[in-house]
Amino acid sequence: MKKVYICNDTITGIFSAIYDAWKESRDKEAGIELRGKLDTQLFCEYTEVVEEERKAAAVEKLIQKHLGYNTYWDIYHALLSEHPKKAEAVFHVMQTARTVGNSKKVMDHLSNPDVALVFELSRKAANEAHQFMEFIRFRELEHGILFSEITPKNRILTCIGDHFTDRFPLEDWMVYDKTHQEFLVHCAKHPWILVSGECLNREEAEKISKAEAEFERLWKGFFQSISIKERENPICQRTHLPIHFRQDMTEFC
């Protein structure tokens, strides 16, 4: 009977599932399902995965070593998506890699549907991460903390952590992912961390610093005055800056 592994939708959870599946079923047909996105079928044997950091670390190493860094990069980004079949597709890509000549080039086999799915999910997540590096807006709270709220489709927080840490090393800043209720937190002169399972204190998050309102006003004014009236073109503006992003951007609020 086909074995299906059930895990949490986190990198650690999925890598733990892949660890188990790889150990027991790498030569067989097997599936991975995400808790909360379960798609139960008849004639399958379901097992609950025990999530462990150790397993996740081992799988990370396994992928990097045998499939190369570029493949790992694609796999990692694909797993940030919301697609219910992402974990299974990654597992299948790992299986496929054993059958191709150069397993580090497995992502070139785009005619394979699992490879194609991982590729597409990875591209979408990476693009979204890049867009957020550009479109994120911070507001200054009472104690000088820079705070941002975003509504991403993928769990992109970990992809933008290094960028903003390098950019604002001396600032305390925090990005709140409203879709997935996760926080990217940075304290001055420290590396960033990802925090989940916490709730946002709305009241605190609305307490902006004294100077904040004025800088927002200045920015909005600039945003208006920099546009050339004779060239106005809302379609072009929307292509480059989709409406979806605007809900969290100062100049559109």
């Binding site: 390098d166 950019r167 920099i226 480059h240």
Partner: protein
């Protein structure tokens, strides 16, 4: 009176005036330099550049684009800030520019600063103020993001040298394509004065490269290179003249980019084209950018694309198709044998797909199906290619025939120009697009 206004003006009003006056500068890019933060200040740079927002005209906002002052002793006819205009004048202080830059940057509104300026008292006087601003921004605020600064013609070499060590990119505006145009519309400027600082920046960059070879930690002089811009459509130059100017700027001055700015009428002046209600010549601007691209990446020369007899681009076809149609004797090209340069000249084949073709055909003969996967746009390319000696369809190598078919496939114009109406297109009739030329195509 003017002094009084300046003292009382709020930061908000100053920003309104000094960004409004800077908006006609087209260069807004933060690309060309990769620099990590050093952990002691704020900011970094990415070679490919980031865009932080898009204004209502669809242009990217990546830099705080402002003038230091809109006071000006010159009287360039096309400029809103010319001395003869009665507009409210104001200036920032270096501290104000630094505060705005740092606070906007912290909120991730911008990638950095684009500082241009009218001329207050003299070029040197103004440039010293700009230097003081950049110095403060870099050394006191420890800002490590992107800075693009305008070099004002007529500034002392020594001062420009100092500024260049604080900026990532410097640009000197060519303003108008020819010396004659400049004489007409910018009576206080001349070609020699504009080219001198360009040359200086170029030479300083070359020297700096050698310094860096010797001392790895030597300070960098405009690491993202220099650019320029010229206004298109204010004076009667042809596309041919404009493109020739661009070409020599790339070749002789080592410029990174030449920007073209469709003329926007802000002043009434007998020396300027009359206001038509047609809006700026955006399609013409677009064709120039396409041709510019061909110069920089497709190994074309200006004189191949246009000549004295055909001095302007075809409004209906992009410059590359236009070239191919005039050189049908060089086609069709055999994909499996043609050299790289020739592949680049085939409409529908871009730099990436040409590279892929050269690589892939070593492994075996290519078919039309393979070309599609390599990103070749077959609906354009098919008239100009053979694969293994065969054309894709039974097509004729005939100018009128191909032109008709290409026009049917509809070029995808960028959103920035596709909003145009036919009325706007007809503007080109006045600009040397002779009736015969349009008649030929239609």
């Amino acid at each position: 009176m003017a002094e009084k206004i300046q003292v009382q003006m709020s930061m908000y009003d100053k920003l309104q005036i000094l960004s409004d006056a800077a908006k006609y500068d087209v260069a807004c890019t933060s690309s060309g330099v990769d620099r990590k933060g050093d952990g002691t200040g704020m900011g970094n740079c990415r070679a490919s550049g980031l865009c932080h927002s898009f204004s209502a005209d669809g242009r990217c906002i990546c830099l705080l684009k402002i003038l230091f002052t809109n006071e000006c002793i010159y009287d360039c006819k096309y400029c809103i800030n010319r001395s003869s205009n009665d507009v409210v004048r104001t200036s920032f202080t270096p501290e104000e520019v630094c505060t705005l830059t740092m606070e906007f940057y912290r909120r991730n509104y911008i990638e950095g600063l684009f500082l241009s300026s009218g001329i207050l008292k003299s070029p040197n006087y103004t440039m010293e103020l700009i230097y003081a601003t950049l110095y403060r921004l870099r050394k006191v605020c420890n800002f490590q993001g992107y800075i693009h600064v305008k070099a004002i013609p007529g500034t002392d070499a020594e001062l420009l040298g100092r500024v260049g060590f604080l900026a990532d990119r410097m640009s000197v505006n060519l303003e108008l394509p020819t010396a004659e145009g400049l004489r007409l519309l910018a009576p206080h400027k001349n070609r020699k004065n504009i080219l001198a600082p360009m040359r200086l920046i170029q030479n300083r960059m070359v020297e700096n490269k050698q310094e860096i070879v010797l001392y790895k930690n030597a300070p960098r002089f405009v690491p993202a290179g220099q650019s320029t811009q010229m206004i298109v459509g204010a004076t009667p130059e042809t596309d041919y003249q404009i493109l020739n100017v661009a070409e020599s700027l790339y070749q002789k001055f080592g410029l990174k980019r030449v920007f073209y700015s469709a003329f926007v009428a802000v002043n009434e002046d007998t020396a300027l084209p009359a206001r038509t209600g047609e809006g700026p010549p955006l399609l013409r601007e677009h064709r120039l950018y396409q041709a510019d691209w061909l110069l920089r990446y497709y190994r074309f020369e200006a004189r191949e694309l246009l000549d004295e007899e055909h001095p302007n681009f075809n409004i209906f076809l992009d410059p590359k198709c236009n070239w191919a149609l005039k050189h049908l004797e060089q086609f069709p090209v055999e994909v499996n044998r043609a050299d790289y340069n020739m592949l680049l000249r085939v409409p529908g084949i871009g730099v990436k797909s040409a590279q892929r073709i050269v690589k892939a055909r070593k492994m075996g003969n290519l078919k039309f199906d393979d070309l599609k996967k390599m990103g070749v746009v077959l609906k354009r390319a098919l008239y100009f290619l053979t694969c293994g000696g065969r054309m894709m369809y039974h097509t004729r190598l005939d100018e009128d025939y191909i032109t008709r078919n290409l026009l049917n496939t509809k070029e995808k114009l960028p959103d920035s120009v596709s909003g145009m109406t036919y009325r706007q297109l007809s503007l080109f009739d006045d600009m040397n697009y002779t009736d015969s030329q349009t008649a030929q195509i239609l």
